[in-house]
Symmetry: C2
Subunit: 306 residues, 2 copies
Amino acid sequence: MTQLRIIFLGTSGSWPTVKRSAPSVAIKRRGEVILFDCGEGTQRQLQKSKLSYMQISKIFITHFHGDHFLGIPGLVQTMQLNDREIPLHIFGPKGMNKLVNQLLSLGYFAPNYDIISHELDEGTILDFNDYLINVIRVKHGVPTIAYSLEEKMRPGKFNKPKALKLGIPEGPLFSKLQKGETVILKNGKKIKPSMVLGPSRKGRKIVISGDTKAIDKMIGFAKNADVLIHEATFDSTFEDLSSDYGHSTSKQAARIAKEAKVDKLLLTHISPRYLDSNVIQKEAREVFKNSFAVKDFQEVEVKLKD
Amino acid sequence: MTQLRIIFLGTSGSWPTVKRSAPSVAIKRRGEVILFDCGEGTQRQLQKSKLSYMQISKIFITHFHGDHFLGIPGLVQTMQLNDREIPLHIFGPKGMNKLVNQLLSLGYFAPNYDIISHELDEGTILDFNDYLINVIRVKHGVPTIAYSLEEKMRPGKFNKPKALKLGIPEGPLFSKLQKGETVILKNGKKIKPSMVLGPSRKGRKIVISGDTKAIDKMIGFAKNADVLIHEATFDSTFEDLSSDYGHSTSKQAARIAKEAKVDKLLLTHISPRYLDSNVIQKEAREVFKNSFAVKDFQEVEVKLKD
């Protein structure tokens, strides 16, 4: 079964604090590490985590405030000093190509592996074989996008008793059928996967809000997600300030989680004013029970449902 | 007495490790904080130290390899988010103006306080009232400069018995004389500072090598320094590699310290290959006893000599 783990590398908003690094969250899946945002210090957070920065294949940036992207040049340079050869893809809203060019031409650095930038906009769907990345625009002071990572449908459950009844010998034919291939038995009988598999099952869905005011559009985007990672810069006592700055309160994020019927809400991008994020978590739980204000290096495994 | 403290914010070379952040060393003197180099993560190291990043008045960069300057944009932006109004001066070798311009135009940031860049070269002497900054070129793969901070001569020791004998009343006139001002007593007698002060005394001298091969020129530049902060990326077993990469071994740095007759040698820019810097310190001490491989957050107070 494919493991999918979310690892929070930085959970602060605006600037790093003693306890929290600038924003970055990693998804590890099938030996691939995908970063969402890459604030200053991300390469060192990676060193301190169990992840290998050499496994990073893609970086998705939500917007171009420094705390969300200033970790890119250092990470890219350290990869080079450690002999990276495989390409690195960096995705973000309009302006990403220019910004990547700028970040790669600071000082005496010149990349000797491929770093490829991509500009995305609302409605973009990126197809990476077994998962999709979807994009919507959200509401922050500057152009900002939210992402969802959705695994494609998985084959249905394998009905072993039925397979044995059909005369299929236990072994390699089983796994072929499980992968969706038609097989032919020694007696010439043709077995289609649909004959031994239940209905197709959903993959996992993870949504990353980026920095944004709480918007209703997020409810549809996060519909039935396994995990919604939503910013919660403030608690409700700062609701006006939060809105002025293009941010969400934890209560607002919780309402979205509840209406979207997600399984779990992970709250991040906590303002440096909070020495203790309990207030953030507590008020979210009043609206949506399965809410968690996350900490740096916190890991969340997202299991497949049966 | 003016305190002068050296605080190491990052002591790694090339890239940060779990224990060491990218290069940066602060000098705190008279409420002013001066940074030499500002690698990625410096703003967070400042948060973790007892220093206030708002007190930083000047940043001196030795060269434009990413590990030495990528902390600038984040620091500058965080200062802005915390309502900095006073100017910030950034000094470095030729190319500093262009680089500062690049660093200030990343993403949606635009500075609303003055950030002034300055390009320096061998022979530059900057006069900051009570101390000087001197500059020489050193030998690294790219243009690199070393810095010395030298306090100006201090007035000689105040001879209190002599002052009383001359009829000067204890009080404000004493401090005027100590500051070098001539005073006139009630009886019309004119007292010059030289009448009550001993010979002028030397201030302190701190030298920062930047990244460099060991060069004889450094001996003259660091002559009689109170503290020489020298890079020691490798130990002697990597002498050839070290030279190829434009770096020094700790033994080479120690020889310079010895010949320059400095009081204390502080070794930094330790390669990530060393989990333990004892080997660096040990081989330096074989040549120059007062050698120390420093750690992040280590503080060294430099006292005035009498």
